[in-house]
Structure formats: structure tokens, C-alpha cells
Symmetry: C2
Subunit: 248 residues, 2 copies
DNA sequence: AAGTATTTTTAGACATGACTAACAAATCGG
DNA sequence: CCGATTTGTTAGTCATGTCTAAAAATACTT
């Protein structure tokens, strides 16, 4: 059987990373050497060689032992594709969600390999839409300005705005989880907690839009048993009080 | 040497997937068996057994040969954490970017393992913010309504809105890439192309906010050589015409 | 209770992607 | 031009995560 050329459609994310690294090296320094690739990817040179062989077998790079590495047309196309995804994601995290650049990059790197075409398209549309429309621009400004205090531990304008909001809302239909009657359900609007308490609650699955049902409140008011997505959980009183929801 | 308990901090995303699967199975069917896990994850049962052994060594599940599998407290905590991330991402893709549910899930599955705490926090804040604020709600409505036509191939209200926008803008400072003077730079505002042409351009790295410099236009007007992030590219005339940018 | 079917585990194989250590080739400095 | 340094490759090891095939344990049926 002829050793078939491996289809580059089956490329692994590790190989995509190598490809992207080569792309960046060629752009910045004209040539890509094994050493530089190893350095950039933080692996040993001896790990690079076999990766280059695989990329070469896939027809994505031009690779001869001990020579400079170049992208083929096909390889450059794929590298650009990955790089584009990286760019849009990094910008989304940085410009829209307000992450600092290193954290934006960290998240982007992890996602760039798996973003579907349609998701990519939607991200681009989101940029076009929010950038183009004055209302969008302003809203984004507000969000970023309010969230600009790094970390969720300190009170910032955003928190204050949310509190305002919730005060306004409470007069309508928003109540805290603690005030929900047993057997009733509500949809989470916001979590008025900070720091590790907030994170713990998010990790438990208490997220905006989640439907929560009160199961039972202990006579003393603590703990509070709730049902959430088919599971039971118990919360401290002050945790329950911090969750604002609309009844459904 | 004592066989040290493996630190669950070093868990792989594959093992996180197993954990999440067990979490969902226990929730939906009370018990998790090897068979069901294999079925849910679309792997053979013989791949599950060693994974269970590893999870057990990490103290994340209770696993005795040939018995039902349960999460430990630690395991459930981690499973919930992954599951929360999955939820927020899936909702983001579905409710904010407007992807259909299977595509939303596909993207969420790939990202859930790597989302940093801070990124998670920002996603939650985005939900809280846009859900809470009437202006945000409305803007999101507009975006989704405009984008609701699946795929980027057909003209929809969104495209029309963008065209309107660009017409308005053109009177100010927005011009097409083709009309940019050689040597001048511009920042991409939108890409007025559809279907495969649009995708190709996105894959090339022509994205909103990208800085592009015109290098040279062939006498006939086609092709157009541009510089983008330290790289040269050549575009067809109609491709260049479809890119709208502000001069910088 | 015995035989059959299902479920789970084991054994053995393989690709990926990393590592260390040792070796080979290329480059640089005097 | 020759030795030292840098760079790249090979060989051998290892963990992960999948597979197939076969064996073992459990459950079901008559």
C-alpha cells in the first residue's frame, strides 16, 4: 500500500500551533529555524523535528533536514486561518470583555483551534455591528468603563450600577432567591456577591438565566435548599440573599 | 516510594469531559455505568475503564471494579465548575451570537476546559449587564434580529443596515480599501462581502479593527497589493472594494 | 439452574506529543 | 583551518487516549 499523504484536514491543534508559530517567525524574522520554534513554543528542539516531519508529510511546510523551514501555499493558508481566529478572539476578550492582554491571549490560544466557521462569522459580525452603530459603541464603553476595575473583588461603578438597577427592579418583579416561596421558580438576573463567594456560586452553576427552584428553607433561615438543573444544592442564607431573580 | 495521589489540578480536558459526563448521567439517570459513559462520550467501553482508574486515583470519583460510579465531593465540585463554564459559553453563543444550539454546544465543548476564571467572570458580567440594562437588551435584539438569517450567504436586514451605515459613513471618513492611496493606512470597519469570498477574506486576516496599508495597485486596478500585520497580500479588485475602512 | 446475553475488564496495539541523552553537522573565532 | 559553540537529529522513554479482541463477571430468561 502506498503511504498516503496525510490529509491536512485531520491536523491536530498541536500541529496548528507549530504552523502558527512558523507563520509568526517568518513574518517577524524572515526565517524560521527549529531553535526559534522550540523557543517560541516552549518545547525542546527534539520535539520540533518530528512535528516538522509530520507537517511536511501533510504538505503544509517545506522542510529539508537542517534547513530553514518555509510554509507552502497550503500551509500559509491554514496558518492565516488559525491566526485570524486567534486575532478575533484575542480582540474580543480584550476589547469587549475587557481582559488584560495576557489573559486575553491565554483564552484565545486555547480556543483558536476549535472555533467553527459560523462562530467566527458571528464574532466578526458582532464587531462590525457594535463598532458601526453609535448606540453599540456607547453601550460597550459603559460596560468596559464599569468593569475596568480588575478582578471582581472590589466595588466598582459597575457594581453600583447593578445595585441601582436591582433597586429599581425590586419594585417590579425582581426578588432575592431567599425571598422566593418554596416550590416557586425564578430566573437568575444577577449575582450580587463578590470575590471568592461569587466565584464559588458561579462554579456551582448559579449563572444569569439559570432557572432555580426553592426546595426548602431551614426554620432558622439557613441553609436554603434549592433545585437547579435537576440537582439539589444547599446555600448559606447570605448566598441565597445575593441572588436576584425574576419569578417565572 | 509511595505512589503519590495525583493532583487533580493537572487534570486533562479528556478527564474533565468524563467527569462532566458522569455528572450529567447521575443527574439524569441517578447512576453512571461504564456503558453509559462510553455511549455518551462516543468511545468504546474499554477506553472508559482506564479513565475511571485515573479519576479514582485523583480522588475525583468513587470507583470499584464493576460497580456504579459516583462523584466524590471534590469531583462534583470540579464537574460543576466545568459544567458552569459550558453553560455560560453555550448561552453566549446561542443567545448573544445567535448560533443554533448544536453549533453553540460544539463551540462551548471545545472551550469549556480552558476558560480562565477572569474570562468566566467577564462573560457573567456581560450577561448581567446586557440583561439588566434596557438599552443593552434592545441592542442585542437588534443584532440578533438582523443576524437571524442563518449563514452569511444571503442578504438580510443586517446587511442592509450595514450598507445604510456605510453610506452614511462614506460622507465622513469611511472609504473602501480600493480607494485608499498607496502608502496610506486604514482601519477596517466592515467587510461587505458574502459567502465564500467573505470567509476567504476573514481567513486571510482581514478583520474589523485590523490595520491595512495599501502597497500598490496594478495599473489595471487588479490586483491590489496590501500590507497587513507585517505581511504582504494581494487582493482582487472586488475584494478590495468590499473592505470599508477609516483612514488613520 | 443452566445457558445466553450483557457488561466490564484485561491485554496488546498504535499514534501523538512530550522528554533526556547522545551524537552529528554547521558556524564562528581566533 | 581547527577547535569550540551552537544547532539539529536520532534513539530511546514515557503518559495519554484511543482502539480491537478476548476473557471474565454479572444479569437475564426460560
Amino acid at each position: 500500500m502506498v503511504k498516503a499523504q496525510i490529509d491536512h484536514k485531520d491536523i491536530t491543534s498541536s500541529l496548528e500551533d507549530y504552523l502558527e508559530t512558523i507563520f509568526e517567525l517568518v513574518r517577524d524574522r524572515k526565517v524560521a529555524r527549529v531553535r526559534d520554534i522550540a523557543e517560541a513554543r516552549q518545547v525542546k528542539a527534539s520535539s520540533v523535528t518530528p512535528a516538522m516531519r509530520r507537517l511536511s508529510r501533510m504538505g503544509l511546510i517545506k522542510y529539508e533536514r537542517r534547513e530553514f523551514i518555509e510554509l507552502t501555499a497550503e500551509g500559509e493558508k491554514l496558518a492565516r486561518r488559525v491566526y485570524s481566529r486567534h486575532q478575533i478572539l484575542e480582540r474580543f476578550f480584550q476589547n469587549f470583555l475587557g481582559l488584560n492582554s495576557s489573559e486575553a491571549r491565554e483564552n484565545a490560544c486555547a480556543m483558536e483551534h476549535s472555533l467553527t466557521n459560523e462562530a467566527m462569522e458571528r464574532f466578526v459580525r458582532l464587531f462590525e455591528f457594535l463598532r458601526g452603530c453609535p448606540a453599540g459603541k456607547e453601550l460597550l464603553q459603559t460596560f468596559l468603563h464599569c468593569s475596568e476595575v480588575q478582578g471582581a473583588t472590589r466595588e466598582c461603578a459597575f457594581d453600583r450600577a447593578l445595585k441601582q438597577q436591582s433597586k429599581r427592579k425590586r419594585e417590579h418583579s425582581t426578588i432575592s432567591l431567599f425571598d422566593l416561596k418554596p416550590g416557586k421558580k425564578g430566573r437568575v438576573i444577577q449575582i450580587n456577591a463578590k470575590g471568592s463567594m461569587r466565584r464559588r456560586m458561579l462554579d456551582l452553576g448559579i449563572l444569569p438565566d439559570t432557572i432555580i427552584e426553592i426546595e426548602r428553607i431551614a426554620p432558622s433561615g439557613d441553609p436554603v435548599w434549592i433545585k437547579l438543573g435537576g440537582f439539589q444544592l444547599s446555600l448559606r442564607k447570605r448566598e441565597a440573599e445575593s441572588v436576584l431573580l425574576t419569578t417565572v
